[in-house]
Symmetry: C2
Subunit: 338 residues, 2 copies
DNA sequence: TTGTAAGCGTTATCAT
DNA sequence: ATGATAACGCTTACAA
């Protein structure tokens, strides 16, 4: 930078002024500086800048599983919003091995990260998140810690769940089993609540709804489907499986195929998330679309608001979900033969 | 840090020595320092450290599309290796809009990134990569620029391609059409070469192999399948579609379904990559597995080698692929009726 | 409008 | 073995 100053015949502060528009500078000198920058092919040193500014223009993105396309899509939204603001995104994937949240607090405290976007999704304990939030702004995506009003962007899971369950009930299904998500996750609770609302609305007893709890992964969908569909009297077998996310729905679908139960003829299945593969399955999965990209994008702009305005913007945004009706649901066959 | 020094009754240099094991320090004083660190809950400032050390302990990961599970899996490998070395990974997703590679060179030059892992995949022009490589070490994953020996981790695409094509030929298919990838991508060339080798090995004329070139995306698989399967005389319709990646294979599969062509009874399809969804499709896709996670991991350790040893380690690693034989291939039906 | 100089929090050199 | 002290490259009062 000194070189630039010398080359342009001005002082370093002048160079800084033009580089940041942070001071008045005569037009001719400004262009001299710009020229020098170009000639010397100068790039400012970001570390020095961060040191001075006490901010690294970098946020963290905590994501439990990149191969889950819902998360991946959120991530693209985050990166999109961040790079539009010249902010870098560092990828944090909590390894089961190392206790990771501790790492992130260190990252926040050491100024390497100005804030973070946090995606839970497979049951991280909220304690870690709260710890994190003490040291810098963090915004939650599709998660909410009851009692602590952390900023977050969520989708209207409850309504989506209610609607998709209503769709199933509307088709005439009476014996429905739910494969829910990890009970400590807010989304899992919301979806469950939505399902129950639907049952109640159709005159059923929400508390009688059979619920099995999984971990949002495919494997648990498979296992819980096995459990749900294995019954002494076949006439009591559920005719529909309502799954709290697509991955588990896919697991359930696989289980059905493995025992030659036809979907949707023998058993209907619905999921939640509308990850890209869901429309590729046979049958195509009826599910609830979450605006994943948007959620990531909005979460990030919310984080930026928190970062530079002290002025609290609305700390919670709710985006809406839409039911995707596809092939995996059909009216149940009459009870008689089975 | 001054506070820590004061609290421990030592000088800042001693604190630095302790924190970095960078100098001799008496055991008692060392523990006094460690205590002070704990008491004051001190975390070193990373910006200052980078400024001094001229390295940010951060690498870039350039990835064209996170929702592609092959890339996502590579990314997990990268993050795994990086965090094992206390190095951060910043996510770079080239937005079509902004000319992105320029951004990355800035990032490298401004010391925010020590190096980068580069995944092409949909045809970024090599020029950009070379430009990048002038300013810092970058390692390519699953890509190779002929003539420039950039460090890279690749999988043995050609062999995988040869093997999967052989499998198809072995089943008795005579009329095969290839849906290839972007011609400027090395992987696309390799796979094509592999297919041709297989044809030659089976006594066919490799140059007579019908090849349509796509862009590795689902949509182009759909369109090219349409093109390949639309022929005046049905007896000349290909009985097998060999696709250079799974996404295009999936597109092809969708096209077949859309016109009620049964897979694999009417037409066999194979892909490449073995992304997770491929085993979920109906029929399950026969494909070639690339060791994606490993590729990311190894690429990253290679990058670290380049970073601290000047000693050139082997600049190109080749990992092996394995054909996954599944349901989407069957022997062709005899020509007569169609 | 422009330049001088004092930090920002580390690390590393050099005396002690 | 330990402690001053000078960088590292930038921003920003403050002075001119």
């Amino acid at each position: 930078m000194k070189d630039v100053a010398r080359h342009a015949g001005v002082s370093v502060s002048t160079v800084s002024y033009v580089l940041n528009d942070s001071g008045p500078v005569a037009p001719d000198r400004r262009s001299r500086v710009l020229d020098a920058v170009r000639v010397l092919d100068y790039a400012p040193n970001a570390s020095a800048r961060s040191l001075k500014r006490r901010s690294a223009a970098t946020i963290g993105l905590v994501i439990p599983d990149l191969t889950n396309q819902f998360f991946a899509t959120v991530a693209e939204g985050v990166v999109g919003a961040a790079s539009a603001n010249d902010v870098l995104v560092v990828l944090c994937v909590p390894q089961a091995s190392t206790d990771a949240e501790d790492q992130y607090t260190r990252l926040l405290r050491s100024q390497r990260l100005d804030g973070a976007i946090y995606l839970t999704g497979t049951g991280t304990l909220p304690g870690a998140i709260l710890e994190l939030a003490r040291f810098g702004p963090i915004v939650l995506v599709d998660e909410h810690i009851p009692g602590f009003d952390l900023p977050s962007v969520i989708s209207d899971s409850r309504r989506g769940a209610r609607e998709v369950a209503s769709h199933v009930l509307e088709q005439g299904h009476k014996r429905i089993a739910v494969i829910g998500g990890p009970p400590r996750l807010w989304t899992a609770q919301q979806r469950l609540a939505g399902y129950r609302e639907a049952v109640a609305a159709y005159g059923g007893d929400p508390d009688a709804l059979p619920v099995l709890l999984g971990d949002y992964r495919k494997q648990s969908g498979f296992e819980l489907a096995a459990q749900a569909l294995t019954t002494d009297r076949p006439t009591e077998r559920p005719t529909a499986l309502v799954c709290a996310n697509d991955l588990m729905a896919i697991g359930a679908l696989e289980y059905c195929k493995s025992i030659h139960l036809r979907v949707p003829e023998d058993v209907s299945i619905v999921g939640f998330d509308d990850i890209p593969v869901s429309a590729l399955l046979t049958p195509k999965l009826t599910t609830v679309r979450q605006p994943a990209h948007d959620m990531g994008y909005r979460a990030t702009t919310l984080l930026f608001d928190l970062l530079d305005n002290e002025s609290r913007t609305q700390p919670e945004e709710i985006l809406s979900t839409t039911v995707q009706i596809r092939e995996s649901v059909l009216p149940p066959v009459p009870d008689a033969q089975d």
